[in-house]
Structures are given as structure tokens and as C-alpha cells.
């Protein structure tokens, strides 16, 4: 890949991302009065993350099995009270274990 193409791709990617963050952040100075829209915004982070995780996690590893197990393990770890890094480690170790076993079988 040419350096010029890389620079243009990077400019597009970083520019669009920055504007998506900065423009609404700067323009909205007042509080939103509507209870409906405040409720909507309260739900957004959780619904976005959920939609990004399922079903993508099933396809992020060598097999659907290890991806599915990682999801279950992460949910259980989170329910047991583990934090951000703890849950991530549990998910990684689960995949490492299952894909490792599959390699050996």
C-alpha cells in the first residue's frame, strides 16, 4: 500500500470519527427537557454494546464454540462481580483453553 493512500484513508477515518464526536458534543449546551429522549439516551450505550457483541463474538475466534463459551464465561464472571479487566481476562482464557484443546484433539 502506498503511503499516500494510507494518509488519505487515515484522514477520512480520523476526520469522520472526530466530527461524529465533537459536533454533537459542542452543539448541545442545554439540557434535553423531554423525558422520552433522556430515557432513550440512557439506554443507548447498553443497547449499542449488546448489538456489537452478539453475534460478532461467535465469529471472532477459531470456532463458534469458543466464542460462545467466552460469552457465557464473561456473563458469569460479570454476574459474580468481576470488573472490566477481570471479565476480559476470563473471556481470553476461555478461548485460549478451548481453542488450545481443539488444536490438540
Amino acid at each position: 500500500m502506498h503511503l499516500k493512500d494510507y494518509c488519505l484513508f487515515l484522514l477520512v477515518m480520523a476526520g469522520v470519527t472526530y466530527l461524529l464526536r465533537a459536533v454533537p458534543f459542542v452543539l448541545l449546551k442545554g439540557k434535553i427537557k423531554s423525558r422520552f429522549w433522556r430515557s432513550f439516551l440512557a439506554y443507548v450505550p447498553y443497547t449499542v454494546l449488546a448489538a456489537m457483541t452478539v453475534p460478532a463474538i461467535f465469529y471472532s475466534t477459531d470456532s463458534k464454540l469458543s466464542g460462545a463459551c467466552a460469552l457465557v464465561a464473561a456473563v458469569v464472571a460479570s454476574l459474580l462481580g468481576l470488573g472490566l479487566v477481570g471479565v476480559a481476562v476470563v473471556a481470553c482464557v476461555t478461548v485460549l483453553g478451548i481453542d488450545g484443546i481443539m488444536l490438540l484433539v
Binding site: F9, R21, I32, V48, A50, A51, S60, L84, A88
Partner: protein, 239 residues
């Protein structure tokens, strides 16, 4: 809400980002030299958006328009988060500070900032983004440099860390708020439909995420509106 409080709160995110961006570095090292891969992370600070961007760069037929559209849809959620966070920041968090710190608006930093009891100050937010930014950039660099050294079974396992972090953010809220639980389940059902229902499978991943989040959040807002003046238990109206 001092700078140092933010730095402390940002530490777990920074550590998590190091692990996640390590896998981005590994993926990137197959296409670009390590300084170029690292520079993507330093200028973007997004997970899914960067992964998609890398795929478009790797595609010989990838165009700048495609890059712009994909980035727009995958990262459109940041606009929703920016709107949401703008409701939560202190009055002293002015335009210039917002322009300067907007790059720090990621899923996890947003989730942490918005869950604070007090209004978020610019100092606290700046502190919050320091370690995640360093973690994300340095993780990418390390991943890109040792991308060729580690076996695939290890790099695959590291790749799932991102989703583990997402689960760790969503599940605790589902536990305390039944209405969030329902909204999340709707989002998941919708997301599964985009993947497995043939008529819907033509929709791109980024666009599918936006639709799922919009539908689930709109339904949540319509059927379980949050109580007024209740900040911490937002979304939980099942009393």
C-alpha cells in the same frame, strides 16, 4: 472531580485497552509497518471502527467513499453518546475544552463518565482519557511489533478481550435494572436477526448495530421511561 480522580478511574480501561489494541496491532502488522498501525490508533481511538477501517485498507478495491460511509455508520453511536454526555457535563465544560477532549469519547470512557453522580468536569474527563489513550496507543505498538512472534491461538484469544469488556459494562446494569435487561435483550434479538434472517443479511454490520440500538432504545424509552431526577438508577422504573 479532579484530574487525579479521572486518572485513577481510567486505569482499568487503560489496561483493558492495552490488551484489546494489542490484537489490533497484530491484525494491522499484516498490512502496514508498526509506526503506521500505531498512528491509526493515536488518531482514531475506536475499536470496531479501526478494525473495519483496516479491512477496507486491506481490500484492493476499497475506496475513500466506502471508508467514510463505514466509519460514519460504525461510529455514529459516538454522536449519541456525545449528546448523552453533553447532558451530564458541568457548565464550566466549555466549547474549546469540548473540541479538545472529544477524541476521548469512547464506549468505556463514556460509560464511566456518564455513571458519575456529580456533573463531569473537563479536568476529570481529561484525567479519565489519559491512561486509556496511552494504553490504546502503546498496546497497538506492542501488538504490531510482536505480531509475527506469537502463535495464532494466542492472538485469537486476545481478540476476544474487547467483547469481554463490553459484557462487563452491560451485565451489571442489566442486573440492577429490569428495563435495561429488556432493552438489551431486544437489541440482541434484533442483532441476531440481521445476522441469521436471509432477507436482512445484506445490511452492513455498522448499519445493523445502529438500527438495533435505535429500535431497542426507542422501545425502552416508550415503555419504560426513566424517572425524573433519578441519575444513578437510570432506566429502572420497575418498582
Amino acid at each position: 472531580m479532579r484530574f487525579s480522580n479521572g486518572v485513577k478511574d481510567g486505569l482499568p480501561i487503560g489496561l483493558g485497552y492495552f490488551a484489546v489494541s494489542f490484537s489490533f496491532g497484530i491484525a494491522g502488522s499484516k498490512l502496514l509497518s508498526w509506526p503506521l498501525v500505531t498512528f491509526i490508533s493515536m488518531t482514531n481511538l475506536t475499536s470496531a471502527g479501526q478494525f473495519a477501517g483496516l479491512q477496507i485498507m486491506a481490500d484492493a478495491a476499497g475506496t475513500f467513499i466506502e471508508m467514510a460511509i463505514a466509519t460514519f455508520f460504525i461510529n455514529l453511536r459516538y454522536s449519541l453518546m456525545a449528546i448523552s454526555l453533553s447532558q451530564k457535563v458541568a457548565p464550566s465544560f466549555g466549547t474549546f475544552k469540548r473540541l479538545l477532549l472529544a477524541t476521548g469519547l469512547t464506549d468505556e470512557i463514556y460509560a464511566l463518565a456518564v455513571s458519575q453522580k456529580e456533573p463531569v468536569t473537563a479536568r476529570y474527563f481529561a484525567g479519565l482519557m489519559v491512561l486509556p489513550y496511552i494504553g490504546w496507543s502503546s498496546g497497538t505498538m506492542c501488538g504490531a511489533i510482536c505480531g509475527e512472534i506469537l502463535p495464532a491461538v494466542v492472538t485469537n484469544a486476545l481478540g476476544v478481550a474487547l467483547y469481554g469488556m463490553f459484557v462487563a459494562i452491560v451485565v451489571p446494569q442489566m442486573k440492577v435494572s429490569r428495563s435495561t435487561l429488556i432493552a438489551v435483550l431486544i437489541a440482541i434479538a434484533c442483532s441476531l436477526a440481521f445476522k441469521y434472517v436471509p432477507a436482512l443479511s445484506g445490511v452492513t454490520v455498522g448499519f445493523a448495530i445502529i438500527i438495533c440500538a435505535l429500535v431497542a432504545s426507542l422501545l425502552g424509552a416508550a415503555f419504560f421511561p426513566i424517572k425524573d431526577n433519578v441519575e444513578k438508577t437510570e432506566g429502572d422504573t420497575c418498582t
